[in-house]
Symmetry: C2
Subunit: 320 residues, 2 copies
DNA sequence: GAGAAGTATAGATGTTAATCAATGGATAGC
DNA sequence: GCTATCCATTGATTAACATCTATACTTCTC
């Protein structure tokens, strides 16, 4: 038997003929003419190298080989029906896998979206990679993930972006800091104090440094700490001041105060980035649609900034 | 996904590429050129409607759809390997089914062949139909069986025959019959007695009547009984005489005597008959080969008459 | 034994598949 | 950054498929 000459179509025809016990009837059901079916059977018989059907009292009955082929064909066609279902689920975004890469700061918010998404699409697996901006840029360059979250996107030559969340950076000081009691405190005094900074490559640090430059003020000593957590705890313990994302602050923070500094908060946004040159996994697309539709249920209204409709429109244009 | 454009060949190629992680390597293994494989992959991708492979760190890895297709393909190809095995067994006569139709008298001998055959080929199923000559002729006309056993074959226009066993018909009388003590008994006296006959249509009866005619003797009363068993018991109980196949007599028969009548035994033979216009099941062919090779182990030497080599040669000529 | 229904074959045609050699563009390793 | 390797594409050719209409052949049925 030469499997290379078998096609699924031939198997379908064989199954139909065995079921109906008649070439003509099978032809009608398959919307073919009778000679076509006869010829397909002939080819199938030649491919298998055995007679597959025998006429017994006016009805076509499969031979032993024909019966076994019928069984095999049904299994095989059934298996591909299953595969088609799988594909359908994949395409509908109801199943599959995608990965998303976050800058550190975003990890405080994204679970609010991922949790409900997972409830709604339990068969979709999501891998989340977390790191600082530098690391995320590397992943982006290597196209390692389906989606990225940046506050300031890299070159958009090969990517599409859509904002989804405000990310205001505010000045945090210890609760007992003199400026909290002294209405007339001066910025240059404040900036003379020690500033706790994220490592270079962090977006928070970049924005902070740019803002400091804009202020045209001399700055005091700094201390570098590699995580938002560490900085927050550092400020609370009187180690210095810091400019941090509001999302980093816990809802209740008895040891900290955000200081209403003129020129602050630094307005930045998080955005979803998808590469334009790489086909997005259906499930990732499904996640973006979910985010678009449920963002306002998942995040506080004051942070809302839903530009995802535009992003999705852009992505769908790329598809076509 | 349009299943009509899928071929087993494409699946084989996909499986090989996924296994090797390389188009070129797969091409080498499949004895194809690299562009051929690339193009097959393209067709497959188009048939499925999804990307199936993605290059990840220098190696081709299947996408989710590609992985699922790989799984489906392996199952399906495996299923057809099984089918090929089944076909092999069928063709080798190691499995399958055939039916054989016997005239009544032959049922005393055929089990001697069928028993050992079943030991040697436990996966072959045999259906045995038993009846008198008339009934067997009907079955033969309708081509209902693979093999037939006749003592006198029907027209051989559409069939091939091969003798395999002598079937001598002898005169049986009760043990206490006068002729057994009286050396000078006369045939015409004997034939004046009641003769137990099989029903019309029976081969034994046909041969008996022809022999009686040849003797040119007037015959006495007759009684008709529908089975060899009944006749044997009838003779033993003094109901009359009979001409019976030696095979019908049990090894020990205290109530019966076979009388050495001049002109007896009537020499006849059993033969296997196979239709020439119907392809013989591989298993039936296997049975004939088995009979050819093991006949002398299965029957008494004095009945041996193995013309099966000729029959098989004839059948193989028909195949070609 | 004539008719009806079913099946097989033949001839024709447009489509698709299978395959190759040649070539251009990506990528990884040194 | 150069080079070898790999992959995709193009263009071409031959074979195979899918399908039809028309016709011939079987085989039940009445």
């Amino acid at each position: 038997m030469n499997i290379r000459h078998l096609t699924f179509r031939l198997l379908q025809v064989h199954v139909e003929v065995v079921r109906r016990g008649s070439v003509s009837e099978a032809a009608r059901r398959l919307h073919l003419t009778q000679p076509t079916v006869s010829q397909q059977l002939k080819r199938l018989r030649e491919a298998v190298g055995e007679p597959l059907l025998a006429t017994r009292q006016g009805r076509l009955e499969p031979t032993e080989a024909g019966l076994e082929l019928y069984r095999a064909s049904r299994e095989v066609l059934g298996r591909f029906d299953d595969f088609a279902d799988y594909l359908g689920a994949l395409r509908g975004g109801r199943r599959g896998h995608f990965s998303i890469a976050l800058v550190n700061t975003a990890q405080y918010v994204l679970p609010r979206l991922l949790g409900p998404f997972n409830q709604a699409y339990p068969e979709v697996e999501v891998t989340v990679h977390i790191g600082n901006r530098q690391q995320m840029l590397r992943r982006f360059d290597r196209q390692e993930d389906d989606l990225y979250v940046f506050s300031h996107p890299p070159s958009l030559a090969h990517a599409l972006a859509g904002r989804f969340l405000r990310n205001p950076l505010v000045m945090v000081v210890p609760r007992d800091h003199p400026a909290t009691r002294e209405p007339g405190w001066r910025l240059h005094r404040l900036l003379g104090e020690r500033l706790l900074l994220r490592e270079p490559g962090s977006a928070t640090r970049m924005l902070t440094e740019r803002w400091l430059l804009e202020q045209g003020q001399a700055t005091g000593p700094t201390m570098q700490m590699a995580s938002n957590e560490a900085i927050r705890v550092g400020v609370a313990s009187g180690l210095g001041l810091a400019i941090l994302s509001e999302h980093v602050l816990p809802p209740e923070h008895p040891d900290l105060v955000t200081l209403p500094v003129p020129g602050l908060p630094i307005e930045s946004h998080w955005q979803f980035i998808a590469r334009r040159d790489r086909r997005l996994a259906h499930s990732a697309l499904g996640f973006l649609r979910f985010a678009r539709d449920h963002l306002d249920d998942c995040v506080e209204a004051r942070f809302l900034c839903n530009e995802l409709p535009e992003l999705l429109a852009g992505l769908e244009a790329v598809e076509a």
